[in-house]
């Protein structure tokens, strides 16, 4: 069985997977953004049209989707700040791996807090 070259290729480790995650979350956020501008535009059609479409965002299944979307946004935001640190901080490249773990820990903390608040509002109703 052929052995992979060790430590020479930029693949398979934190650097590559954070890049993959950044791309995927970026595309997801972009397509949501297109939809979100269109749904908000219904305020220019009529108050009832807007309130009806926003009503769809309040259903519990959509609340799970919103939580996923916010998870994508928060990862993209924190990892984006890490990319800026890698590019502009002179020790950024050296500590990129530690910064990725920091990103993931902060991401978990923020998402636990967000999920509890958002899902209890969405599932609790009035």
């Amino acid at each position: 069985m052929p052995t992979k070259p060790a430590g020479t290729l930029y693949r398979g480790r934190e650097g590559m997977w954070s890049w993959v995650g950044h791309r995927i979350t970026g595309v997801v956020i972009f397509f949501f953004l297109l939809v979100h501008v269109l749904d908000t535009s219904l305020v220019r059609v009529s108050p009832e049209a807007y309130t009806a479409v926003i009503g769809a965002y309040k259903n519990p299944l959509m609340a799970l989707g919103e939580t996923g979307l916010v998870a994508a946004i928060v990862f993209h935001a924190f990892n984006g700040l890490r990319i800026i640190a890698v590019d502009f901080w002179k020790k950024g490249a050296k500590y990129q791996r530690q910064m990725l773990w920091t990103v993931l820990i902060l991401w978990v903390i923020v998402m636990v807090g967000f999920s509890i608040r958002h899902l209890s509002l969405a599932f609790g109703g009035h």
């Binding site: 791309r23 970026g26 595309v27 956020i29 972009f30 953004l33 297109l34 501008v37 269109l38 908000t40 535009s41 305020v43 220019r44 009529s46 108050p47 009832e48 807007y50 309130t51 926003i54 965002y57 309040k58 609340a63 919103e66 916010v70 946004i73 935001a77 984006g80 700040l81 990319i83 800026i84 590019d87 502009f88 967000f114 608040r117 958002h118 509002l121 969405a122 109703g125 009035h126």
Partner: protein
């Protein structure tokens, strides 16, 4: 012995006389050197807009989803309340423009990376730029032409609007 030549990535293509340009064989060069520093400006824009977007979008999510009743409070009146204040109009305007341009440049990079054929890249980017233009213009018009008291064709206020007392 001839040295192995590795083609530069398309997204980082350097077609001028700068270092690295000679590594790209002429048949792989796609531009005639007229692009100037566009790629460098785009790279910088992603970082600058990214920092601003973290603030704008986290603020947006906090106000709309976490504060008060969260998503349950969002309806026509919620939007009317926010856009009665120029602060939130310009907040949303900045978010719209920066997020659309940031996202469009990201998708442009992805198209350049994965679409191999010249014509495929051209058409994907044409569709992308058309969608971006429509969304930015539409969103900008919606923010600044918003009317809290919309009327129907015969001049009667639509239900759900916020009209001044007669």
């Amino acid at each position: 012995m001839t040295a192995t030549q590795i083609q530069n990535p398309r997204s980082g293509q350097n077609s001028s006389g700068k270092p690295g340009a000679g590594l790209i064989a002429p048949k792989y060069r796609r531009t005639g050197g007229s692009r100037g520093n566009f790629e460098m400006a785009a790279w910088l824009f992603m970082r600058l807009s990214g920092v601003v977007l973290v603030v704008l979008i986290f603020g947006h999510l906090f106000i709309n989803l976490l504060a008060g009743e969260g998503i349950q409070a969002i309806d026509f009146g919620f939007v009317a309340g926010k856009w009665a204040d120029p602060f939130w109009q310009f907040w949303d305007l900045a978010m719209l423009w920066l997020a659309m341009l940031h996202g469009t440049n990201g998708v442009r990079t992805i198209i350049n990376d994965y679409a191999e054929k010249d014509s495929t890249r051209f058409w994907l980017k044409t569709v992308l730029y058309a969608a971006t233009t429509v969304i930015i213009i539409l969103g900008t018009l919606v923010i600044f032409t918003f009317n809290p008291c919309p009327l129907d064709a015969s001049g009667v206020p639509l239900p759900g609007g916020f009209c001044p007392a007669p």
